[in-house]
Symmetry: C3
Subunit: 296 residues, 3 copies
C-alpha cells in the first residue's frame, strides 16, 4: 500500500537528492512509488567512469527509499539505449572507481545491488544495448523492447576479451547454455525478434506502443503494496541470482586481457573506424567488429 503523506514515506530522501546533479541521465520522480530515469549522454549513450559513479549513487538512493516500488530506465536517444563501455583512452579512470559496499568493483557492485533492491527495475529498450549496455539491462528485473528498433549483444569476444560485467552468469541462467554460448562466443548483434525468442528480453512491443505499455505496467506496479513486491521478488532472487563470487574473476580477466598488445592495437583500429561516436561502425558493430581483427 503506498501512502503519500503518512508513515515511512516521511523517511524518504528529499526530492533534492533525487533531482540534483545528474549529467549522464535525468531522473523524474513521478510519485513516491515511481521513478523514471532517461539516459542522455550524447552522442551515443556510452557508459563511462562518470556514468558508473552516477548510477552507483542512484542505486544507493533506490535502496534506501521505503516508498519506491518501480524504476524505469529509458533512453533519450532512439538509436542508442546504452552503446557500451567507453574507457575514454584512460582505463585507470575505470580502475580508480574502486569498490562498492559489496566489496566488488563499482560496476559489478551497482549491478548486483540493483538486482537485489526491493524495487522493480524495468529496462525499456529502444536502440542499441551492447557490451556493458547489455550487462545493465540484464541486471534489471524486466526487459521490454521495441519490436522494430532493438539491438542487443555482447561483442567483447570479437575484440579479444572476456565480457567483464556478468553476462556469463546472467545469460546462462536466463536463456540456457546453447543460446548463452551463441550470444557470448559468436558475439554478434541480436535484433528484437531473436532477443525475444531467446528470452534475452521479456518480450517485444511495437515501437510506437512501447512507451505507453511500459508506462501502464509501471503505473500498475506503483499502486501495489511495497512489501508484497519486495518479498515476492526476494523469493525469486534466492533462486535466480548468481552468487556474488561468480562476478569478480571475469572482470579481472577483462582488465588483464585489455592490457595485451593485441587488444591495444585492435582498440586503436576500432577508434579509427568510429568507436564511441554515431558511426556506421557503431550502428553495425556486431557485423563490423571483424573488420578490426588483426588479420582483417
Amino acid at each position: 500500500m503506498t501512502t503519500i503523506d503518512t508513515g515511512p514515506s516521511n523517511n524518504h530522501r528529499g526530492s533534492d537528492e533525487w533531482s540534483s546533479s545528474w549529467t549522464h541521465f535525468s531522473v523524474d520522480r513521478r510519485s513516491p512509488s515511481y521513478c523514471k530515469v532517461v539516459f542522455d549522454h550524447p552522442p551515443i549513450n556510452t557508459i563511462t567512469a562518470r556514468t558508473v559513479a552516477e548510477l552507483a549513487e542512484l542505486v544507493g538512493l533506490i535502496e534506501q527509499d521505503p516508498d519506491l516500488n518501480v524504476i524505469v530506465f529509458d533512453s533519450a536517444n532512439p538509436d542508442f539505449y546504452l552503446a557500451h563501455y567507453d574507457v575514454e583512452n584512460d582505463p585507470a579512470k575505470t580502475v580508480a572507481l574502486g569498490t562498492g559496499p559489496t566489496g566488488m568493483h563499482a560496476w559489478l557492485d551497482l549491478l548486483v545491488r540493483l538486482s537485489r533492491a526491493p524495487v522493480v527495475s524495468i529496462a525499456s529498450i529502444r536502440g542499441r544495448a551492447r557490451g556493458a549496455g547489455s550487462e545493465f539491462v540484464l541486471a534489471c528485473d524486466l526487459r521490454f523492447a521495441s519490436r522494430e528498433n532493438t539491438v542487443v549483444g555482447q561483442f567483447e569476444v570479437g575484440t579479444g576479451v572476456v565480457p567483464g560485467g556478468g553476462p556469463m552468469a546472467r545469460l546462462s541462467r536466463l536463456v540456457g547454455r546453447g543460446r548463452a554460448l551463441e550470444i557470448l562466443l559468436v558475439a554478434d548483434d541480436l535484433d528484437g525478434p531473436r532477443a525475444e525468442q531467446y528470452g534475452y528480453v521479456n518480450r517485444l512491443v511495437a515501437d510506437d506502443l512501447l512507451d505507453g505499455e511500459v508506462e501502464e505496467i509501471a503505473s500498475r506496479l506503483a499502486r501495489f503494496d511495497h512489501d508484497a513486491i519486495a518479498r515476492t521478488k526476494s523469493y525469486v532472487d534466492q533462486v535466480t541470482l548468481p552468487p556474488d563470487s561468480e562476478f569478480p574473476p571475469a572482470l579481472a580477466d577483462f582488465f588483464a586481457m585489455l592490457r595485451r598488445p593485441e587488444q591495444h592495437a585492435q582498440g586503436a583500429r576500432l577508434r579509427e573506424l568510429g568507436l564511441n561516436v554515431d558511426s556506421d561502425l557503431e550502428r553495425h558493430l556486431g557485423a563490423r567488429v571483424v573488420d578490426t581483427l588483426p588479420d582483417a
Copy 2:
C-alpha cells in the same frame, strides 16, 4: 510394460477407492495405467479446503498404485479450469487442514508429492487458472493449453500478498528470472500465446483439438513401461524440483500478510465486485484487480 491381470497389478487399490466420494472432481479410471480427473466444482472451480483434502487423498492413491502411468486433469467448465483459492470467509478452515506426510501444509504437501509421484501428471488447460489454480498446473509434469481459451496468472501481489503455493520456486526455474518476475510482480493475466512463449505451458493446441491430442498422448504413455517412465522422471526431478525448504516460508508470509487490515479491506472489495462467482471481475481478474486497490 503394463499388464492387466497378473503380477503387481493385483496390488492396486480397488476401483471403489478411486471412484468413491469425490465432490469437487470426478475420477475416471480408464485403465490400470491411465486415470482421468475432471474438475467440477461450480460455479467457477475454486479451490477450497475441501478440494485440498480430496486432492490430497487422490495423490495418496496415485503414489501407491504400481500400475498407473499417467493421470490427466481436465475441467468440466470451459471458462474456469481452476479459478483460484477460496478461503470461504473462514481462513481457519484452511489452516486446520494441517500438514501432510512431508511435514508441510496440506496444499504444499500434495503439490510436492504430485510432482514427485512415479506417474506422468498432465494438466489439460482450458479457461482460467490463476493463483492456486496456476500453482496446481505448475506442479503437474506437462501443461497443454487451449490456444484460444487459456488464461493463467498469479494475481496475488495485486492483492497485497505473496503467492503462497510455490510459484516463485517453480516459475523461476521454468521460465527464467525476467519472465518469472514479470508474471509474479506485474501479476496480470497471460493469454495462451504469451504463456506458451514464456514456457509457462509446454505448448498450445487449437481448442477443438486439445482433448484429442491430450487423449492421444495419455494413451501412448499408458502403454509404456512403468519403470522406464518412473526412473526417467526421477532423474529429471533431481535436477529440476525445488528443495522442499523453499516452499514453507512463502506460505507463512501469505498467511501473515492476509491477516493485515489492508488485505481484509481489499478482500471485502473483491467479494463485493464478484469474487468466487462467474462475474466480470473473475473473467478479467488480472486487469480488474487494480479496481480493488485502496486508492482506487
Copy 3:
C-alpha cells in the same frame, strides 16, 4: 588471435593425425583454427562402438590442439544426421569400450570432454538425430538446424529403457522441467519448429541457407582470439554443465533395463520392422515405436 606459422601453433598435432583412418566420418582441417567433421556411416549414420572409439580419439585431438577455435559436425546424409545407437546384436562390444580419462564409460566420457573443450563445437543438424544422436547434439555447444528437415527426439522410454547418455541432465537445464519431461517421457519426435520453440536447438535456418550460415559463423569464430573464446566458454561451463556424477547412474540403468526379457523381445520386433536401415520405421520412429510395444 590465430597465427598460422608461429608460436604455439607449432605444437599442434600433425595433419596426418587429423586426417588418417576415420571410417564413420571424414575430417577436414580447414585451417589451424577451424575443423569440419562430416558423419558418413551408411545407410543411416547409426552410432556403433566403432563410432564411439573414433569420436573419442577425435575429442583427444581437439583437447590438445592450442590453435583450434571451432569444430563443425555435419552429415553426409540429408535424412539422417545421427540415427541413434546400434548395439550391432552385441551389447558386449559397447560395454567393452571401457572408460575414458574422466573414469566414465567411453560414450559419456567423450560427450563430457567435448562439452568442456576450449573450442566451440557446432552441430549443423539436417535430418534425424534421435537417442544417442540427440545426446551428441546436446553435448555440442551450439545447435543450428534445418527449418524444413529436422527431427530430434529421445525415443528410449518408448522402448522400455532410460536414456543413458545424459539427456535428463542436459535437457532439464536447457529447456526446463515441463518440456524436458515431455521430450523424454512422451518420447515422440520433434520437428524443427517445435525443437526451436522448446530451445532444444538454438534456432532454425532455412534448409538451403543452413550450410552457408554455419560456415559464416564458423569462419567468424575461427578468426577470434582463442583465449577469449576459451575463457568465456569456461565461465558458462561453470554455471551450465551438469556435475559428472549425474551421468553414470542413468547409463547403468540403461544397460540393466536393456537386459530384461521384455526389451529383448521389443528389440527383435524393432529389427524386424526395419531398425538400423533406411526404412519407414526409421523415418517415423517416434510415431511407430508404439507398433513394437508388447500389447501392439
